[in-house]
Symmetry: C3
Subunit: 256 residues, 3 copies
C-alpha cells in the first residue's frame, strides 16, 4: 500500500481462495483491458467474460493474452454454456474451451431448465478438463428457489466436482440472492452459510450496498463476484474499512 495506516483488516494475497474478487468484463476494448490489468491486477482473482459477450468480442485471442500475461484466469459466462447446451452442442463447447486454452468454465442453469442430475454430470465431465465454477439461482425473478434447495444444489454441485459455487445475481443485482429492489435475501444467505463453507461460495454482488452487506456479515475476505472493472478499487477500500460504508465496522476498539 502507498502509506501506513494502523489497524487495517488483513487481506489475503494472490493466489486467493478467500477474499476473492471476480470481475465482469462485458466488452472492454484491448487497451481498456490493459488499463484494467495495470490498475487492478492485485485485486482481481478471476475475470468472467460476461454471459456470451465472447461470441462477438473482436480480438478475443489478444484479450485473453493480456489477462494471461497478468496472471488472471478468465472464464466464459454461464449463459454461453447454456446456449451450447440448449442447442445440443456440448462437445462444441468443450472444443471452444480447448481452442482458447481456457482453464476455468462455468456451469449454470439460469436461463434454461436443466435436470439437476444432468447439471451435475456436466460439472463432473468438465471438471476433468478445467476448473469448474457452478452457479445456483435463476435469472428469472419470478422463480424463487427455497433455501433448502439452494443448499442441496450447492452441496451436490460441489460434490460433483465444482471448485466453488456462485450465487446468482446477474449484472443488475436484482435476482437470485436479491429481491427486485436489489435488497439481499438475508435469511437465504444466512441459512446457506450454516451448511456450505463460505470459502466455497462466490456471491455475485454488483451493487455497493450488497458488497457492504456481505463484508459486514462475513468479513473483509468474503468472495464477491460480478464486480464492474470500475468498481474493483472502490470494493477494495470497502473491504479495508476505508470507505464510509464500512468505516466504523472495522474500527473495533479504536476511539478518538
Amino acid at each position: 500500500m502507498n502509506y501506513e495506516l494502523n489497524n487495517i483488516p488483513v487481506r489475503t494475497e494472490k493466489p486467493r481462495t478467500k477474499g476473492f474478487t471476480m470481475a465482469m468484463d462485458k466488452g472492454l476494448s484491448l487497451r481498456a483491458t490493459e488499463d484494467f490489468v495495470e490498475s487492478c491486477s492485485d485485486f482481481v482473482d478471476i475475470v468472467k467474460l460476461g454471459w456470451a459477450t465472447s461470441y462477438v468480442t473482436k480480438n478475443l485471442n489478444e484479450k485473453l493474452a493480456i489477462y494471461k500475461e497478468a496472471g488472471i484466469p478468465v472464464y466464459l459466462g454461464g449463459t454461453l454454456f447454456e446456449a451450447f447446451i440448449v442447442r445440443g452442442q456440448f462437445d462444441d463447447y468443450r472444443k471452444v474451451l480447448d481452442k482458447y486454452d481456457l482453464t476455468f468454465a462455468e456451469v449454470s442453469d439460469g436461463s434454461i431448465s436443466l435436470n439437476h442430475d444432468k447439471k451435475c454430470e456436466y460439472i463432473a465431465t468438465l471438471a476433468k478438463q478445467v476448473t469448474v465454477l457452478s452457479e445456483v439461482g435463476s435469472k428469472d425473478a419470478a422463480k424463487i428457489i427455497p433455501p433448502y434447495k439452494w443448499i442441496e444444489q450447492m452441496r451436490t454441485e460441489l460434490d460433483a466436482g465444482a471448485w466453488k459455487v456462485i450465487g446468482e445475481a446477474r449484472e443488475g443485482g436484482n435476482v437470485g440472492l436479491f429481491r427486485d429492489s436489489g435488497e439481499v435475501r438475508q435469511g437465504l444467505v444466512e441459512e446457506i452459510l450454516t451448511q456450505i463453507p463460505e470459502e466455497r461460495i462466490i456471491w455475485e454482488a454488483p451493487i455497493k450496498s450488497q458488497q457492504v452487506w456481505f463484508i459486514k456479515l462475513i468479513g473483509a475476505n468474503v468472495n464477491l463476484g460480478n464486480i464492474s472493472p470500475s468498481e474493483v478499487i472502490p470494493l477494495e477500500t470497502i473491504r479495508l474499512g476505508l470507505r464510509g460504508d464500512t468505516f466504523d465496522h472495522f474500527l473495533g476498539e479504536i476511539k478518538l
Copy 2:
C-alpha cells in the same frame, strides 16, 4: 463470430438500413474513441455526438477523423441544431456542417417550439446538403404528444426528405417513447408501427429493458439509438438471443 452456435438470428450487415445501432458519444477522449472503434465498429452504424457536446469537445477534427477512418458516419445532436435555430443562426449551422465535412444532420424540436411546417422546411433545405435524421417527441416529460400526431409528424417529416425518423427518449430513456419510469408507451409504439415502416424509424432506447422490449416486438434487426458505447456489445448479444433477457425468445423449436 468467434465460434459456431447453431440457430442464431441472422443479423443484417453493414451498411445496414435495418438492424441499425446508433451510439451516443457524449465526450469520449480521442483514445477512448479509438478503443470504441476497435472493439465495436462492426456493430455501430452511426454515432451521435450527444446534444451540443461538440461545442466543447477538444480535438474535434481528430475525433471525426477516427470515426471517418472506421467508416462510421457522425452527426451532431439535435439540441445543437435547435441552439442555432433559436438564435436565428441557421446559416451558421449549415456552415458548421460544411466546416466539419459532415454528411448527416439531425432536425429536432425537443427543446424548442417550432411550427411543424417550418420544421419540415428545415428538413427539406438540409436534405439538399446532407442526409437528414429528424426526431419526433419532446424532451419535456409533461408534453404528451398523442399517437396520431406522432404518426402525422413522422410521415410529413419523411415526406419532407428525412432519411429516417427518430423516436425521442433522451440519454435517460424517460421521456417521449417512455414514461418517467422508463416504461415503454407500448400503445404508442404499436400504433406508430401500423402506419410507418419500421425500417424508417430509429427508436432511442438507452435502457436495457427498453432494448429488450423492442427486440421482442420487432426482432433482432430493429433500429435502436442512444446506445452508450459500453452497451454496444451487450446490445449485440441481446439481438442474438445470447443474453438471459432474450435467450428464450429466439429459441423457437429448440428443446433440451
Copy 3:
C-alpha cells in the same frame, strides 16, 4: 469553442474561484487519467482522489505527475483524513501530504464524530502546510444537521483557514445536501446562501438533476463537486445552456 453561438453564458476561466468543477477520480488507470486530462483539462479545476482510494492506487506518483503536468491540483478525499485521525495518526497524515508533494487537503468529519473546535484546529494547522478544503455534512443519512448549524460550521471553518467549504453529498448524491432520493434540500441551500458567500462553497452534486438545480439557482458559474470524469463535458454543456435541461433557462429574450 469549436464554432460560434450567440448569447452563450460567459464562463470564468482557469484559474477559477467561481464556476469551479471538482471531479472525483475513484481509480482511473494511468492511461485513463491521461485521456481525462486530454479531453477535460479546461473544465476541471481540481481533482479529488475519492475517499481513501489513494491507499490502494497503483502508480500513484505517476498519476499525480499526470495531473500536475496538466496544471490540475489533486487532493485526497476527506475519509482518508478521518482514517488517519481516528487512528491517532495525524502526523503521519501530514507526512503523506509532504511525501506526495500535495498542495491541497480536505478536512471532514463525515464518518467520525469530531468536536467542532478540534476540527477547526486541524483546519488551522493544515492551512499552514497546504490549501484546505473543509467539508460540512454527515455521510450518515440519519444525521440531519439543521441549517443554522451548517451555517455556523461553514463560517467557523472558513474563519479557521479553509479556502472553501464543501457541502457533503457522497458519490451517490443521497446524503447531506440531498434527501435519500437525491432530491435537493432546497430550504437548506437557500438559507446557507443568505449567510455564506457562494464563491466560498463547493456543492457536491454528482447527479444531473442536482447540477441543473444549482445552475438554475446560482448560475453557470456555480462551484460543483463530485463530478464523475465521464460527466465533466456533459456538465459543461449544462452550464452553457446547451443541454435540454437548461436550454430555456439561459435564453432570456431570444425568441423564434
